[in-house]
């Protein structure tokens, strides 16, 4: 139980940190921020890598999780980069 309290602490602090960091984002960056954040949520890939694989079902689930998280990661970062490159100053 101890470990969950510790990790819960990390969770709360990170959410608070996130809210503070992003609270004043200009509207120009709303879409790139969303798409960039979306790429970060592909961090589920790390979770997918450490899954157990005792049964065939688990192996299949781990494989699918890795694949879909990878689509999220690669697609998310590339599309964000492509979008940001379009924004130009006068």
């Amino acid at each position: 139980m101890e470990i969950y309290i510790l990790l819960g602490f990390v969770l709360i602090l990170s959410i608070y940190l996130g809210l503070e960091l992003i609270s004043k984002v200009p509207s120009t960056l709303h879409t790139p921020l969303m798409s960039g954040a979306n790429a970060i949520s592909g961090i589920a890939l790390v979770g997918a890598l450490v899954l157990g694989s005792d049964t065939q079902l688990q192996q299949a689930l781990a494989f699918l999780a890795v694949m879909f998280a990878s689509i999220n990661v690669f697609g998310g970062y590339l599309v964000t980069n492509r979008m940001l490159k379009m924004f130009k100053k006068k």
Binding site: L11, G47, G52, A62, N72
Partner: protein, 459 residues
């Protein structure tokens, strides 16, 4: 044994490093000058976290195959997609992230959770991940206009009911099944109900409310990853997931504020029933104008404000709009673009479209910056926007959109409204702007009308 413990502590130290990069990355993503570098830093953080986890993966070849397939599909979509389809692409990628956490939770359920708290986490992660996935797929369908369901149809009602049932079933799964283990396979039912529930969550939400839903689903995918992190006792998942959850939440709040509505009202009530009495039956003459007369007025204007809306995206008019803007500037006119936060179908939709057409972002202004000086604007050109310029929001208590911050174009000297027909906007509210003394309606396809103006200028 000590070797493995060493690896695990090295991994955890590197996770801390990776978390720092994620935090700096998302911070830099919030400022124009540093955004590209911010995105790169966060990609680097991802690469480091994945690489260091890969060291002790059980089945490296299978994993590499999975990553390879994902990389190819993801990159192809990201590089091939047209910039105008960005909203639905973001929704789709978001859904895939949710699906990954859904599978993670499912797999963890099968490795038999060791304590009650883990059991609870499995259920919650399953639910949030699943709802993110199926909800995002529906959002994708709505944004790409491949899915059209009436809000009042029987299908919508059925799925909305399923959404509520899924929540009740989730609570049942969390609290009851551990104590009285049911004789049936309750978890499979949870998996199915979760996916159906996600459909029911998004399906009743109208097109104009899409920016809010997309931001919220974005937030969910982060929260799902953070919960998966708790489940797997993995720090970097928690930190990165929470950051995404927070950024999605902020965008959701910004969008809801821009509509002057609560998030609950947007998700569960919608415009139709929020106010049934809007008797602003506007009776008056609309004053149409043709392209050549519009040209004469524009040619003599010294300050022009362009207000784009979803109609510009539909007509694909952003390139001719930019061309017209350049011609006006060459003519000595000051041109600015008034961007309302909820114009379009996703947060920042108009900004992306205009950026694609090479409009520099420093001539884009937000409502609160441009409203005080609106009376100095000679011509406000409204292109396919409706509710975000509806003066009922400031003048008519009782209107469903009363109190919503708008771009007050009715205070400009002249207003051109480019519109296909006299239909009302997503809120279903008639727009008194069309009947104002200083308003001229330029009917027709926005791209053709502006193209006509461009030709006039060139001659």
């Amino acid at each position: 044994m000590s070797f493995f413990e060493n690896i695990s502590s090295i991994q955890n130290i590197i996770y801390i490093f990776s978390s720092i990069l994620f935090i700096s990355g998302i911070k830099m993503l919030g400022k124009e000058d540093t955004a590209v570098r911010g995105n790169f830093l966060s990609a680097l953080a991802m690469f480091i976290a994945v690489s260091v986890t890969f060291i002790n993966v059980i089945n490296p070849i299978l994993v590499l195959v999975g990553i390879g397939i994902g990389a190819i599909i993801g990159s192809l979509i990201a590089l091939k997609v047209k910039m105008t389809s960005i909203p639905e692409m973001v929704a789709l990628f978001n859904g895939f992230g949710g699906l990954a956490t859904f599978f993670i939770a499912w797999s963890e359920f099968n490795s038999i959770p060791s304590n009650n708290f883990q059991y609870l986490l499995v259920m919650i992660t399953t639910y949030i991940g699943g709802v993110t996935f199926s909800g995002s797929v529906i959002a994708y369908g709505k944004l790409s206009e491949t899915l059209k369901v009436e809000k009042s149809s029987i299908i919508t009602k059925l799925f909305t009911t399923l959404f509520y049932i899924s929540i009740i079933y989730l609570l049942y799964s969390i609290f009851i099944t551990k104590i009285f283990s049911p004789g049936f396979d309750f978890y499979t039912i949870l998996l199915i109900l979760t996916l159906l529930g996600g459909v029911g969550f998004v399906i009743p939400i109208g097109g104009g409310d899409m920016p809010v839903v997309i931001s919220l689903l974005n937030s969910f995918s982060g929260i799902a990853a953070a919960f998966a992190g708790l489940l797997l006792l993995n720090n970097v998942l928690i930190v990165a997931g929470s950051l995404v959850g927070a950024s999605g939440l902020i965008l959701t709040i910004i969008m809801a504020k821009a509509m002057n509505r609560s998030i609950g009202n947007i998700l569960f009530v919608g415009y139709a029933s929020s106010s049934s009495t809007s008797k602003s039956e506007e009776t008056g003459e609309v004053k149409p104008i043709n392209v050549s007369d519009a040209y004469l007025i524009l040619e003599n204007a010294s300050s022009v404000l362009v207000i784009p809306g979803y109609g510009m995206a539909v007509a694909q008019a952003q390139h001719v709009v930019r061309e017209l803007g350049e011609l006006l500037e060459a003519n000595g006119t000051e041109v600015r673009y008034g961007i309302h936060p909820v114009a379009g179908r996703m947060p920042g939709h108009m900004n992306v479209l205009l950026a694609e057409a090479n409009v520099p972002y420093d001539v884009l202004v937000e409502p609160e910056d441009v409203n005080p000086s609106m009376d100095t604007v000679d011509v406000a050109v409204v292109i396919g926007a409706n509710d975000v310029v509806n003066p009922s929001a400031t003048e008519e208590p009782g209107s469903p959109i009363y109190g919503m911050p708008i771009i007050e174009v009715h205070n400009a000297r002249t207003v051109f409204v480019l519109k296909r027909s006299m239909s009302s906007g997503f809120a279903g509210v008639q727009n008194p702007l069309f009947f104002k003394e200083n308003t001229r309606m330029l009917f027709g396809d926005a791209k053709e009308s502006i193209g006509g103006l461009v030709t006039e200028f060139k001659e």
